[in-house]
Subunit: 185 residues, 4 copies
Amino acid sequence: MLRQRLVICSVVALVVSALVYALNVSTPTAVAQPDPGSRAGSSAQPGTALSSQDISLEQARAAVDAAVAKSREMNVKMNIAVVDAGGNLKGFARMDGAWLGSIDIAQKKAKTARYFDMPTGEVGKLSQPGKPLYMIEVSNQGLITFPGGVPIRTQGDVVIGAIGVSGSTVENDDAVARAGAGAVK
Amino acid sequence: MLRQRLVICSVVALVVSALVYALNVSTPTAVAQPDPGSRAGSSAQPGTALSSQDISLEQARAAVDAAVAKSREMNVKMNIAVVDAGGNLKGFARMDGAWLGSIDIAQKKAKTARYFDMPTGEVGKLSQPGKPLYMIEVSNQGLITFPGGVPIRTQGDVVIGAIGVSGSTVENDDAVARAGAGAVK
Amino acid sequence: MLRQRLVICSVVALVVSALVYALNVSTPTAVAQPDPGSRAGSSAQPGTALSSQDISLEQARAAVDAAVAKSREMNVKMNIAVVDAGGNLKGFARMDGAWLGSIDIAQKKAKTARYFDMPTGEVGKLSQPGKPLYMIEVSNQGLITFPGGVPIRTQGDVVIGAIGVSGSTVENDDAVARAGAGAVK
Amino acid sequence: MLRQRLVICSVVALVVSALVYALNVSTPTAVAQPDPGSRAGSSAQPGTALSSQDISLEQARAAVDAAVAKSREMNVKMNIAVVDAGGNLKGFARMDGAWLGSIDIAQKKAKTARYFDMPTGEVGKLSQPGKPLYMIEVSNQGLITFPGGVPIRTQGDVVIGAIGVSGSTVENDDAVARAGAGAVK
């Protein structure tokens, strides 16, 4: 019973916070979900399978390559991970001398960005003490909720995967991740 | 309204902390990465293996011995772990009567210090609520971000491993870890 | 009586397998360790750091690219992982349509090959029921001991990492892994 | 219910196999337990605490040092772990160039040897397919049941810890472990 209540409270809090958040945030990466018609996994008719889109290896590599190029330009050493629409690892590269601890963090950032279809830093704003998603990080075998993970979208705004970058300040991580995501059309 | 304020406060706190962080970070072990030339893993030519350095068992033992000697001098009972350049356990000693719970913590401290090439306490400053690396501890199958882990460097400033100490106050843990790391030249 | 027989049979089987094992092991990748001088991590003098070599990102990519090319040639869909000398992930690619369950297996194969500096299939021969390394798979948070993981060596025979491939039969996995490892000089 | 039955069956099988085993085996390291009076943890009177003995750091180091010396003599590269009477890590050393995968195995061997107060190879005889302890390896967060782990006893035959060695053939591992254990008086 207690667990049920907690789950219900949690869902309510999530919905409320999403609404509040939508009112306050006006960046293009807001929590508010886009038109359902433009998302992967929409179904035209009952009884038919969902039609979806997913990132290709070629696209994943383009994202990784763009992120590596951006990192070199910024003189930072990064771990770069790309996950597909299912949140599963698709591509990965660790630059020479990059932090070992960032192997896992880059992957968790990519996973987190796709699991909630928003930049990881947006989740992090809601997971601080006293905020609606406090301690969400312990779910899903570990989430990372600071900047550096961003969804990868098609031009039609369908999320087909995500990129996670770790190895420097969160500002640098985020900049490199956006450069990587931007390389996928 | 309250919730709106919390969200706004959170954003403000994040911005402020980022600024404070930007102003405070000036130690050589800061998040900002040092001169690439001074790090292990540099490659002279494309297509060739990286030339690197690693801690020897003899060096690991020198670190452990110095840490035990320092602990006795301070009248504390410690767990002491040393990892190599790859973050893998190289040496370990638990002093008689030292906390059992510190076996894992000492190892996680050493791992954390090597994974990010900085003292664990530096990571911890950035992982507090509202700070850029909040909840980083859930990554890498568990990190420890309070003091007591420090990188082990060659005289040429190449990180060849790290030492983690646990068994007393974090100040004492840190002092013993530094004594251990200092014994390696 | 039956149980006594089983125990005796087991002892006999163990002795026989040990003998068979002793007779069979003669490949260069056998359990018997090669000339110490040819391994990474040798130290010229006491008290100094070990001089070692590690795989570069460029080399890791060359291995992944060669593995992808070989997979296309064989008309199979693979997950390909490359780890460095410390056993930490360096590069990864999942071909379009490749098994999701092989993401983890490819990484565990690469880890296993580096952890014991031999092809995973060699470990697997020794981990069968009644063989010397029976159930070694439960160690190291999971090892994979069927073919598809091979060490990556320099021309000087120093192990600088390993590649793990998963997505088809173990024979195909192994062929692709060897093609990948062979691309690194 | 099924689970209860399985547990009961398992306990019965364990007792039966221990008896059978005691009849068949005549080595000094048999499963049959020695005189209770000679074991750690005996209690003279009801209501009083157990009087026990435990390995000291100095003893653990003597064991590790003897194992390293023996390894050098045999020209093998080993991981060596020592656990105390509680099965918790007390000392560890990885020789330069030793297998990374053996870090965990050496520790699991030491743990296994102390958890059952017998050499790991003895447990392994009983864990083969069709044998009473089949698949016991998945318990206790991973056991290793091939040779290389042996209990460390006082001259009064009290088990005060165990040593686990991994890095070569199981015969070599076992020989080095016995050399280590034999250095503790």
